[in-house]
Amino acid sequence: MARIPWVAALWMFCIASVGAWQWPVDGGVLVTGFAQLHHDGFSRGVLFAGDDAVVRSAAAGEVVFFLAPGHRAHPLGNFVALSHDGGFRSVYTGLEDVELSDGVTSVVAGERLGIVGGSGFARGRRVGFQIIDEELDAFVNPMLILPPREDRRSPVIVSILLERDGQTIAASAVTSYGPPGAARLLVETFDPSAETGTTLVPLAPYEIVVELEGREIRRITFETLQARDGSVVLAGRYRADALYRGERLLDLGEIVVGERPVPLAVTVRDFAGNRVRRTVSLNPTAAADPQAGP
């Protein structure tokens, strides 16, 4: 529930700034989603690919910091940070060069900042776009602020896996669960990038909901990454090393099944509202009767 007030605040912010934000890369292709596994941690923003594509300010703002060739090295490469109304900052990383100098103090929306480069630890010619909420001390999913873009491709659930006693079983429509008890639920899922045509570029989804026996037991929304006790956590609680078992394989925590067969439903949604839902029936075998003889 704690998520609701600030999501609402963000949306109010978005509504208040309709027309003020724009996509930061001319013709850029979204290749990494927010909170996607990246360099063994969460991606703090989104990444665009685009050879020599122009990077522009997503909204009018004050130039608060920039790092250009010749300055000290930084893993984000050459980058620009802008301060915007509402306590938000936008950061453009991995630029080829920075087209700002000491004299430039502010930019208008759409002002040229540089071109897609691949500087720093960018993997290939990529530019990163991050939104930071200063008050929350958090990175925010840029899709919450940027104008909607057309996306008709639904997320994909590749597999639902159950991990019990060191063994992993793939869940099918009717799954023999084994004896009643707990298992870890792993889901392999991704959201295909809308802009890459037949080339599959998997992105992180926007939301994953798990229901057991018709009751919601887990909801992970890819909206914020917050610093907490020296770690960065997604949705207030999930660490990257605990959530991600692989690039697309997510550990959605423990489920407990009793002696009756139960439906397990996993719903994955992307930011445009496309969704996919898979339901499996988990059928436990009867618990062994300790009184029974051989």
């Binding site: 360099h39 941690g41 300055h71 090295a73 000491d102 720093g120 001390d137 990175f139």
Partner: protein, 356 residues
């Protein structure tokens, strides 16, 4: 002899003496004498074993080297992605390696840290800024991870002392973390219109932290260590604001704190509390202080020119003692025990500075 004639004669003698002293001045023992010492190419490696000479880490363009005070190049290499150097070790950072390798001034292997990112080399430890630009970790010389902290904003600058590490961030927050990973001090700047930590520094004994903070106005803040952590002890408002990485450095051997602004290099004489600024004719490329000859050297670019200029100052004075323009500028400036080292293209040039 009448008294008047005697006075007139004495006056004439004094006047003649004054004219002589103006025309033929004698040394006072404080004049600056700068003479060439040696010149060598950065890639002219001398494989003979080193003596007890001072060693300087230098980088010029995409090359770096370790060179002794007598001009012997101990090790030279090409910068992979970036190089991080101290006079006693370096790390030639690769953007594709998941390991950070630390080497000695002759290129010998000192250790490998299983972390990807840009290192900051401490006396007996290494601090790494990870590829996400928001996670920092500290490793001891045995390559054990002492701590890892992830932050909710982009890290703009890191400084590390004996035990403490200072992390400054884009959102105006500053953290001081000890060797065990305990956060001993946190500060959030709210004074400026745009909160920001531009640069941070810590003195060699972990007693004072300096930070260049905020925009509109920008200020230099000093935090002194106390029993509870650190406390803000002084602030100096800046007439302009730098919005990019700039030099901020304790020069402990000279009792100075140096920091860069858009058009000047500022100095705080820590014992006296005196603050002065030296105007720069162009962008600052390097600065160094040599207490043995009481000189501050700065290398700056010249506006609209590829050339640079070396300017020598008494640290307390805004008037230069000497200016030496040279073609191509210099990315190197080291000053120690009367030796001044600069670069010109692939060449390293040393001058001997003496008083008297």
């Amino acid at each position: 002899m009448p008294r008047r004639t005697r006075l007139r004669r004495t006056g004439l003698l004094i006047a003649l003496l004054a004219v002589y002293l103006v025309l033929f001045p004698r040394g006072t023992g404080i004049e600056l004498q700068v003479s060439p010492a040696w010149i060598t190419r950065i890639d002219d490696v001398d494989p003979s074993p080193p003596g007890n000479e001072a060693v300087f880490a230098v980088q010029t363009g995409d090359r770096f080297a370790f060179i002794t005070a007598t001009g012997r190049v101990l090790h030279h290499d090409e910068v992979l992605h970036a190089v991080v150097m101290r006079d006693d070790r370096f790390s030639n950072v690769s953007a594709v390696s998941a390991v950070t390798v630390i080497q000695d001034p002759r290129g010998g292997f000192l250790g490998a840290i299983p972390a990807e990112g840009y290192p900051l080399l401490g006396n007996r430890h290494t601090v790494v800024l990870h590829p996400d630009g928001a996670t920092v970790s500290r490793w001891n010389d045995a390559a054990d991870n002492q701590w890892t902290h992830a932050f909710g904003s982009v890290v703009t600058d890191i400084a590390t002392g004996e035990e403490l590490t200072v992390v400054g961030r884009l959102d105006g927050r500053l953290s001081v973390i000890d060797a065990r990973g305990e956060m001993v001090f946190e500060y959030r700047s709210r004074a400026g219109r745009f909160p920001l930590v531009v640069s941070v520094a810590i003195d060699e004994h972990d007693q004072t932290v300096a930070a260049l903070l905020d925009i509109e106005p920008q200020r230099l803040a000093l935090f002194a260590r106390n029993e509870e952590g650190f406390v803000l002890v002084s602030e100096i408002s800046m007439p302009s604001a730098i919005r990019r990485p700039g030099m901020l450095r304790f020069q402990d051997n000279a009792g100075l704190l140096l920091w860069e602004q858009t058009d000047a290099l500022h100095l705080l004489h820590r014992e006296r509390g005196h603050h002065n600024a030296i105007e720069l004719p162009g962008a600052l490329r390097a600065a160094a202080v040599d207490p043995s000859v009481a000189l501050l050297g700065v290398v700056t670019a010249l506006s609209d020119s590829p050339d640079g200029v070396l300017i020598l100052h008494h640290p307390g004075s805004a008037t230069p003692v000497m200016q030496l323009p040279f073609p191509g500028g210099s990315e190197v400036l080291r000053m120690q025990d009367g030796l001044l080292l600069i670069s010109s293209g692939p060449h390293l040039i040393a001058y001997r500075i003496e008083r008297g």
